[in-house]
């Protein structure tokens, strides 16, 4: 279980995350929603070692993640992908994934062998298959479509064998059809890999359909938590974020 308790982070006096408490049980699927600037990406950064919290604790299966290096947090089993895909533009998809596996298996400093080490291939191809990137393995990452770059970003996290996967707006910048294809893949991934999956998403149709549990952030605070039905009808959430259309749809 991933437990976040009393988490605080501010930037130059402005609170980006304040007093957030959320538990993510092992194997759960949670959506995090909230308006722009609510602190969603900051929340992910605090869990994954991208930022150090001012106060509070993040523990995974009882062990604290605070103060650990990014490498140690990955080893603990926390993986993440980014709101804007972060990839290696001049490397091919295959090289990128092989490089990631190589690093994860502590061979990043090896100079005596040729790249890639043969034992890195299995995981690379497994993940490429899961995400539908097999056809693209030989393509230079910079030449991938936007959607494929997002997939590659997720694949890079996945080859590190995470137990918890944090996806920051996996459908960002996609058209309606592409969004659903992406989210179906993510859902499939969650089932297949038995992950604890947390994703940030702005598309409420997707969130309400996919996520059994939703956490709402607003101005750095945890505004509400609950099932889609609870969130849809929560007055505070409607006021702060949803407006009335989704609430009416529920009635």
């Amino acid at each position: 279980m991933l437990e976040v308790k009393g988490l605080f982070k501010s930037f130059g006096g402005v609170a980006a995350i304040s007093d957030v408490n959320i538990d993510f049980p092992t194997g759960s699927l949670t959506a995090i929603i909230g308006p722009n600037g609510a602190g969603k990406s900051t929340f992910f950064n605090l869990i994954s070692g991208g930022l150090i919290p001012d106060k509070g604790s993040v523990t995974f299966n009882g062990e604290s993640l605070i103060g650990r290096s990014r490498a140690q947090i990955i080893d603990a089993g926390i993986g993440r992908a980014f709101q804007v895909a972060r990839i290696f533009p001049t490397l091919t998809v295959e090289e990128s994934l092989l490089g990631a596996v190589t690093a994860h298996r502590r061979r990043a400093q090896n100079i005596t062998h040729r790249f890639p080490l043969p034992e890195m291939r299995d995981r690379t191809h497994e993940v490429a298959e899961m995400l539908g990137l097999v056809e693209k393995l030989g393509v230079t990452s910079a030449n991938l479509s936007h959607g494929d770059q997002k997939l590659l970003d997720i694949a890079l996290a996945l080859v590190l064998d995470p137990k918890v996967l944090l996806l920051d707006e996996p459908t960002a910048g996609m058209g309606p059809d592409e969004r659903w294809r992406m989210i179906e893949r993510v859902h499939e991934l969650w089932e297949r890999e038995k992950l604890t999956l947390i994703f940030i998403e702005h598309d409420m149709d997707i969130v309400f359909k996919i996520a059994p549990k939703i956490s709402v952030l607003c101005y750095g605070r945890l505004l509400a938590e609950g099932t889609p039905d609870e969130i849809r009808t929560n007055p505070a959430v409607i006021e702060a974020y949803l407006g009335t259309s989704h609430a009416e749809a529920a009635v």
């Binding site: 290696f88 533009p89 690093a103 061979r107 890639p116």
Partner: protein, 326 residues
């Protein structure tokens, strides 16, 4: 794709052929000038290729790489003059001491990013230059290491003989480049490319960026110093201009002229710059002006190095032919 990736056996074959051709060259075309050129280019090829491990493969633009070239020349020359050791021992001393220099300078410089990294490496080079100039009893100051470097024979090799010197220089160069080639095609070489492409992402894959950069810096320093050592053997001395900042500038020029996207580009650039230098020095007094103009021509005309240009040309042709084949 991956199946056509250059393997070690192929690289060794290419290196062996190159070495044989270079070793036979003086017999086919006996010329003092040619020998001198090849030795100098060997020294610069090691220097430029090692610099490109930082610039091209890791994205670390060092403005101070000349410090290693000069350090190698002085470390080797002083070991021979002052310690009276054998040449292999002096080579070992050069390698170990330049690795230590790389470790210290690297550990400090790598903490800085981008242009700040470039500047601090330049500052370290200037520090070393000033030390060489000021420490007259040891280095001979602005006169350089005078009196010649002793070259006692070892293993049947006598570097006071020109042909031996030639064979020694090209062998060190070819073996050095082969090792650097292995490094850039190793898992570590790809770690460096990942750091170059997206450092932040690399850290989120658990890559220890500091450690990888420091390793690259030390390796580059060692091979850069071997270039300086070859040069010291060739001129039988060491001079302050080897450790001056203009040396670093020439390294960058070589990479620009030859191209940084192919492994052999910087070595090709070393040859081009040496040829240009020779031709221009003989033809005109306005050496710098002419050289500057040629480099401008490359920068503005081709917008890349010669080998980049050739590689692109082949790629376009191959793509065109596969397209028409479909």
């Amino acid at each position: 794709m991956l199946s056509t990736r250059p393997n070690l056996a192929r690289d060794i074959s290419i290196a062996a052929v190159a070495l044989i051709v270079l070793l036979l060259l003086p017999y086919v075309w006996p010329s003092r000038m040619m020998n001198d050129l090849v030795i100098r280019v060997s020294a610069f090829a090691l220097f430029a290729t090692s610099l490109n491990l930082l610039v091209g493969y890791t994205g670390m633009v060092s403005f101070g790489h000349g410090m290693f070239f000069g350090f190698g020349a002085y470390a080797f020359g002083l070991s021979m003059q002052r310690l009276g050791v054998s040449i292999p021992t002096a080579i070992l001393i050069t390698i170990v001491s330049s690795a230590l220099l790389g470790l210290v300078v690297g550990a400090i410089s790598i903490r800085l990013k981008d242009i700040y990294f470039s500047f601090i490496t330049l500052a370290f080079q200037m520090l070393l230059y000033s030390t060489v100039i000021a420490w007259v009893p040891l280095t001979g100051g602005d006169q350089g290491l005078m009196g010649g470097i002793p070259r006692p024979p070892f293993l049947g090799i006598d570097l006071s003989i020109e042909s031996h010197r030639y064979a020694f220089a090209v062998t060190i160069m070819v073996v050095g480049l082969l090792i650097l080639r292995q490094i850039v095609e190793s898992p570590f070489g790809y770690t460096l490319r990942m750091i170059r492409d997206n450092t932040e992402r690399a850290t989120f894959l658990g890559i220890n960026v500091f450690r990888a950069k420091l390793t690259a810096f030390v390796i580059a320093g060692v091979f850069g110093s071997l270039g300086g050592m070859v040069m010291a053997l060739f001129v039988s001395g060491a001079y302050p201009e080897f450790v001056n900042w203009t040396m670093s500038g020439e390294g960058i020029f070589m990479i620009m002229l030859g191209g940084l996207s192919t492994f052999i580009g910087p070595a090709a650039g070393a040859l081009i710059l040496s040829l240009l230098n020779d031709v221009i020095t003989r033809g005109t007094e306005h050496h710098g002006l002419f050289l500057g103009a040629v480099i401008l021509l490359f920068a503005l005309g081709l917008r890349k190095g010669v080998t980049d240009f050739i590689a692109d040309w082949f790629r376009t042709r191959r793509e065109a032919s596969t397209r028409s084949g479909n």
